[in-house]
Symmetry: C2
């Protein structure tokens, strides 16, 4: 890996460092490093930042990232836009979320994203964004920067997301699947720090999985790795939006849960849900979570059934991948420990003992921020010169 990337990513992760500290960190001979740092200072890539604490010898000078660096992180969900503007160390300097409908198509949705980026960018410094990272809720061709065959995103197939945003904002853009970004985020700044082999399972409106092997996101041959929402869990199951039947997503996830909860409310099987339906005209997955927390038996059973199905799919993935951690995230991670307990019980019971001996199954630490943290990280990797 090139020296410049190694220096910049250390300054991102550790903050200002002296030449001596960098030399230790990078295990690189001091003269070679110093020459490179001098070049980077001369070109304005890094700045000097006053004297370091003494280590006994001659005082060393700290170097740091340009404090004016700005990365934009965008997490497009099926029904939401989350944006953070960060500095070079990935600390948020502005953030904003609103609901949105991905089915409006790439034109209106990306126009809105650009508008928000301009507003937030202006708030956070004044003008230029250095690099943008954006996640989409469907398969992405990482190389081409376009979404491909996304089942829930009419109009997005092969839409040039990267080039659209690049010409709009005049900066490099990196596009990835939203769940891959969540996995990246959780690995960089969440519960999966230093975990090399990781599955991040997002349970939101739909269900997807980010696969990280040997410390790197694995995207598959066509960018569809981790697309587990359409694995068949029921031979003669419910119809799915993808055209098949019995898919995991057709039986669990935000959309399925709202459908089942509405049916239960209408059929009078749950007083709590019926009350919410009467009050708001609809019930959502969030209602199920709250009613389950309140002890409603129908809601408890919906969550347990869903967790059981997710667990069954995960046993297959654990047999194949032998990961050291599975992180459960996405909107329905709000179902929390009830969901987690059910998933754990199935996976620990049914997977090969060797594969589960040291396997941790945990809830996301970053929660709804996992996607933007990953998007900011990926933007910084591109900006700092890592080959992506």
């Amino acid at each position: 890996m090139n020296i410049q990337y190694r220096v910049l990513s250390r300054l991102r992760d550790l903050g200002p460092l002296s030449r001596a500290q960098l030399s230790d960190e990078l295990e690189m001979p001091r003269p070679r490093l110093v020459a490179e740092l001098d070049r980077m200072i001369a070109s304005g890539t890094i700045l000097e930042a006053g004297p370091a604490a003494s280590r006994g010898g001659r005082r060393s000078t700290l170097v740091r990232l340009d404090p004016e660096l700005r990365f934009a992180a965008v997490d497009l969900g099926a029904s939401s836009i989350d944006i953070e503007i960060t500095d070079g160390r990935l600390a948020a300097v502005a953030s904003y979320s609103e609901s949105a409908d991905i089915r409006q198509g790439p034109g209106p949705v990306l126009d809105r994203v650009s508008e928000l980026l301009r507003k937030l960018g202006a708030q956070s410094r004044g003008a230029r964004l250095d690099t943008i990272g954006i996640g989409l809720p469907g398969p992405v061709s990482f190389r081409d920067g376009v979404s491909v065959s996304p089942p829930i995103m009419p109009g997005w197939d092969r839409f040039p997301v990267r080039s659209t945003l690049t010409s709009e904002h005049g900066c490099p853009v990196v596009v990835d699947n939203d769940v891959n970004l969540m996995a990246l985020g959780e690995h960089h700044g969440g519960v999966a720090r230093s975990v090399d082999n990781l599955l991040f399972v997002k349970i939101g409106s739909g269900i997807g999985c980010g696969v990280q092997v040997h410390g790197q996101i694995y995207r598959g041959s066509e960018g569809s790795a981790g697309d587990i929402g359409h694995i068949q869990v029921e031979a003669a199951g419910l119809p799915c939006s993808c055209g098949n039947t019995g898919c995991l997503e057709a039986h669990f996830g935000g959309v399925a849960l709202a459908r089942d909860a509405t049916a239960a409310a209408r059929a009078g099987r749950s007083e709590a849900l019926a009350g919410r339906l009467a009050a708001h005209g609809a019930v959502t997955a969030a209602d199920v979570a709250q009613c389950a927390a309140g002890g409603d038996l129908v809601c408890l059973s919906l969550v347990r059934d869903g967790g059981h199905r997710v667990g069954q799919v995960l046993t297959h993935l654990v047999s194949l991948m032998n990961p050291s951690m599975i992180v459960i995230g996405g909107g329905l991670a709000g179902l929390g420990h009830l969901l987690l307990a059910e998933i754990r019980s199935v996976v620990y019971k049914r997977s090969p003992p060797l594969a589960t001996g040291n396997l941790a199954i945990v809830l996301s630490e970053l929660g709804p921020r996992a996607g933007v943290v990953g998007a900011a990280l990926l933007a910084s990797e591109l900006h700092y010169g890592r080959q992506l």
Copy 2:
């Protein structure tokens, strides 16, 4: 990667090369390469081999591997030992196979392996083996060189396979799971050349999978990646040797097929099988293959059912991994196109269209040699200085 490894692996894969050709191949400045080659010649690591064909300018001298190099490749199956001794280019100079029973335990089995290695080594040159690669039919801790928790291998758990063979033969040894070696073999010298993301499915006595991502074998956190034989395919299914019920291996694979075929013969449901049972006292998976080829309906149906189950598991793995190729190998690959057709029909029907658009599902090209080719390759990688 170090220069020495890059030179040696090119000479392995391409044969003798001139300095000019190597310089082109490695995209390395000629003076630096020539200095390294001179060092390697002086130390006897490579040899000069006469003048190269003229390329118009000054004649260049060919360099080549030491023709005395010998790698030993061992593929231990549940019921077989396959061995090849190869030269530095991985061409077989001696090979031998015999049936064996892995359940005899590591003492007797490895004693026999060592005896065969000494005999074959003596035939093939005289004395020394340079490096040994060996595959075991169960999970392996690649780092430690021991097998771990192998369900069908009593006595093998944590047995120090690497150090036992090292002290017996006085040379480096590398130990891996047999299916990983088959995937490596098929990638190096079979149908999966230049395929980066690959699943190699071995259907033998049991069923396992080698996972190759980004061009490298993925072994998982505990070495159990690809252990798909114990994925549950039937909720209230047959008991499995692992202690669970409904595992893929309990329903298909050599052991299951022999059991089902015997039952069909005894029940008089298949004349062809009954004839073989009467003639030989037992029927095997090979009998099923032959009777299916002869049109026996019970055998055709056994193979189809098995292929269907394998296909169902593969749809899950395809959704997760989005590989560009699936290779079907192992003893039951002899069931051939009937099995392949059934697997293909399930995978192509049930997997996400994006994941199957460019997905090839093919039979192993190396057949029973896939394991030893992979073992020889891995031995050479270790010997030539690649960090494994």
